[in-house]
């Protein structure tokens, strides 16, 4: 089998791997790099549980091939906290009980972090539409939306 050699950066660290061209970035992150924070909920871009950033752009890692990661910078949930300091979103998600089972949480954190970097003062409606591609089946989204809105307000105050 012919595998392709790929060099990329994940959460700031340079990594190399060999992969079959059919493998998705999600397959590579999970099965080759053992970064299992990104989850496969559907494999077809409908659930957002595999959300990562590629060169700062929010995407579904199940809809990118591993070989496309060559020369890119990938950001995953594992890179959100800085050392032992949680990102304000992570802290608020715990405080607000914005997760029940937690399977959608990594994707939602990656997605909302990308939102707040782009728009520090989103309306409730903007948060809801931004997250429309991140399915959560446990919470009814209520506490997630509240946690995001409150984090945004706090980050605005802090900056």
């Amino acid at each position: 089998m012919s595998k392709t050699h790929v060099t990329t950066k994940v959460n700031g660290d340079e990594v190399e791997f060999l992969c079959d061209p059919r493998e998705t970035l999600l397959d590579v992150l999970r099965d080759r790099l053992h970064l299992t924070g990104a989850k496969e909920g559907c494999g077809t871009g409908d659930c957002g549980a595999c959300s990562v950033t590629v060169d700062g752009r929010l995407v579904c890692s199940c809809l990118i091939l591993g070989v496309e990661a060559e020369g890119k910078e990938i950001g995953t949930v594992e890179g959100i906290a800085e050392g032992e300091t949680l990102h304000p979103l992570q802290q608020k998600f715990i405080e607000y009980a914005a997760l029940q089972c937690g399977i959608c949480t990594p994707g939602i954190l990656v997605a909302t972090k990308a939102l707040l970097e782009k728009n520090p003062d989103p309306s409730e409606s903007e948060v809801r539409y931004w997250l429309a591609g991140n399915l959560c089946r446990c919470t009814g989204y209520d506490k997630i939306i509240r946690a995001v809105m409150d984090t945004a307000a706090e980050m605005r105050e802090a900056s």
Binding site: T44, G45, V59
Partner: protein, 288 residues
């Protein structure tokens, strides 16, 4: 499956022309990867065009139109400071596709080449009069967007040909476009019906009109009679009724899991009215 990342269009075209079996072009991949994952198609050759210079650029053409590289994503279109001012309907149509995540990858040219009757950006591009540059071993030609899809999943591109650019015409004065689709949820669904309207006015009077429907026939439907119904008049209730009736009469949909013939036909009429009103107000100067 073999994966190639050519550095030039010439290289890409040579690969496409020489490939055996199933060949797919990879831009955003939001359709191709889903088809691979679902075992619908596993290409023998996959050609990633994103390393080709210019494929990510949105530039003004000399005549005041817009030229989009074939890897330009929905998100890049939405974020562009000027494109959406000229062609809000096209940008919105693209923006309706999938999630924020999908927007980060999906491209209008991919949406077009996927050949889905329900592709959101296609009716809007056709209504806008968009043109694609098709390049093959014999050289390049410009083709109107509505000539690309020929049936579900099928395009008019010949073997060895790929689309190398997308061009939107100059917006010009007193023009406005709009695209609306109907879905059961607020996001994430495939269009049950889509409707794009592009108008130009002289004062309050319509001078040019194009309406295109999606998801109501094997390919997007250009409602040619819309111009006859609208040109020379204002968008009054009679005009809206006529447009709505025309939309319904132009439908040739199927019953499927996403909608019935009856519902699609009815809703096409509803969307025609609503989209026309938005396009009209934009042509009169309303901000998108």
């Amino acid at each position: 499956m073999k994966y190639y990342k050519p550095a030039t269009f010439e290289e890409a075209i040579a690969l496409v022309a020489g490939a055996e079996g199933v060949t797919r072009i990879l831009a955003g991949g939001t359709d191709v990867l889903v088809q691979m994952r679902s075992d619908i198609i596993t290409p023998d050759t996959l050609i990633d065009i994103k390393a080709i210079p210019g494929t990510h650029e949105i530039t003004r053409t000399e005549d005041g139109g817009w030229r989009l590289g074939i890897a330009v994503t929905g998100a890049e279109m939405s974020e562009h400071p000027e494109l959406g001012r000229d062609w809000p309907g096209v940008v919105e149509a693209m923006d309706l596709i999938g999630s924020t995540q999908v927007q980060g990858r999906a491209t209008p040219v991919g949406n077009l080449c996927n050949g889905s009757p329900a592709a959101d950006s296609v009716p809007a591009m056709i209504a806008a009069g968009a043109v694609v540059t098709v390049t093959g071993p014999e050289g390049s030609r410009e083709i109107a967007v509505d000539e690309i899809p020929v049936g579900p999943g099928k395009t008019s591109l010949a073997k060895g040909e790929i689309i190398t650019a997308l061009t939107l015409p100059p917006r010009g004065a007193q023009g406005g476009d709009a695209y609306l689709r109907f879905i059961p949820r607020t996001e994430m669904d495939i269009a049950v019906v889509g409707c794009a309207v592009n108008l130009r006015l002289n004062g309050d009077v319509i001078t040019e009109a194009r309406m295109v429907l999606g998801a109501v026939a094997p390919t997007a439907v250009v409602v040619h009679a819309a111009a006859d119904a609208l040109v020379g008049r204002t968008l009054d209730e009679d005009a809206l009724s006529a447009l709505s009736d025309l939309a319904e009469a132009s439908c040739n949909p199927i019953d499927d899991k996403r909608g019935t013939i009856k519902f699609r036909t009815h809703t096409a009429g509803v969307l025609a009215r609503r989209a026309a009103k938005i396009a009209y107000s934009r042509a009169k100067g309303a901000k998108a």
